[in-house]
Amino acid sequence: MISIADASAKIGYHDEHTDFEADELFAFLLAKHHRHNHYASDAQRFHYKMARARQALSGICVAASVAGLLWAGTQIVDGVMYRQELAKTTELLATAEERNNAVQARLPQTDVTPEDMRFAVDAARQLRQKRQYPHDLLRVIGQELQQQTGLEIQRLDWFASNDLNAKVTPLESGVSEAADAVSYDENGEPVTAMDGDDDSIYQIVIIKGRVKPFEGNYSSAHEKIVDLLNRLRSSNIVVAEALELPLNTATSGRVLGSIGDEAKDQEALFTLRVVMGERHG
């Protein structure tokens, strides 16, 4: 038997304020040799880790196999479907080739391609359609002039134009509308270079004449001209206007004249513009 104090000294327990009871010694011994943790060490867990790694590998293999087989399956199914479509298309191709050969064989050989033939025929048709002749307009003017005596026509300029407001005949301007610039769209097709999309063609007549007989009565002369214009407007005429009247009564113009015997020598000249075409608006 040894005393608790000896035992304490032996195990290295020193405490001045203790009575050296056995509980303290046990607690000291337990505290002296305590473990850092209660888990297994890496070495002890090696086989366990390997088992988990094999499981993970198996899982990956299964997942990859499923995904790969699914993908390969869809590819094969698609491929088989494509092959079936290919077979059908090949069959159709043979039929189409046969029909095409038959049509090509019965097509006559021509110097001009059918497309160019069609273009030529269409172009000629369009040119014919766009042609204008003065018959109708001159007839209307002639008829109305017969109704309105006292007006003598000295010159008559007829021309066709896309411009409703054109006042100068190509014969005077020397510019032919055929020479207008033409732009082309992205398909190489010509695009008419006109204002707006109106491709109407108007027949225009500039009438130069005089009031005859004229004895200096401008009021009467104007009445005759206005009457003619009103008659023309009631026909299928788009515009009938006076460009010049015997006496320029516009507030912006200058009025010249004389009253007396000299008035008899004066001429009552006028210029009218008459337009025939489709009425718009």
Partner: protein, 206 residues
Amino acid sequence: MANAKQVYAELRQPLQRAGTLLAGLLILMVVSGLFNNQMNKSRQAAEQSFNGLVQDYRRALQSEQILLTETSRFAHLQAQGIVGPEPRLRWVQDIREVAQRVGLVAINYELEPRTPATLAIATGSYQLFVSLMRLKLELRHEGDLLRFINLLVERQGGLFELSACALSRMRDDEPTSLHASNIKVDCELRWYSLDSADSMPTGDAQ
């Protein structure tokens, strides 16, 4: 190092099995992918050939239809001189004969060299040409001009367009004469023709 060897020893067989499996899978995927791709390409090529052939077939049918409907019209245009070289001799002859028939007192004509026309009309591989003709006529009556135009149109010696005409009195204060010129007319005609684009004006006599 020892640890690595141990790990390798433990996992060698499963790794080999997984590798074999994945390699097999990869081969299967590659083969199936190639099969699909090949079939798809073949199908697309066949469809493309089919579509091309169908287009050829349709074009041939259209050509056949055009030939059926337009050949005679086209031949007529060629005969009229609207397609091909300009029949200038015929134009001039027509003008002279028509003037004679109408009984024009005098006629003067001037035909300019043909130039490419810039009208907004699709002409395919053809080029639209225009030749400007200036006419100076002396008439007894304005109705003669209308008759002159009518007869010229009826002759169908070509495709022309009357672009402008100016009529003016020749005798200002004198009475109208039945046997002499009373009206002077200046007209501008444009003769149209379709020809190959490289057939620019030449000095060939016709």
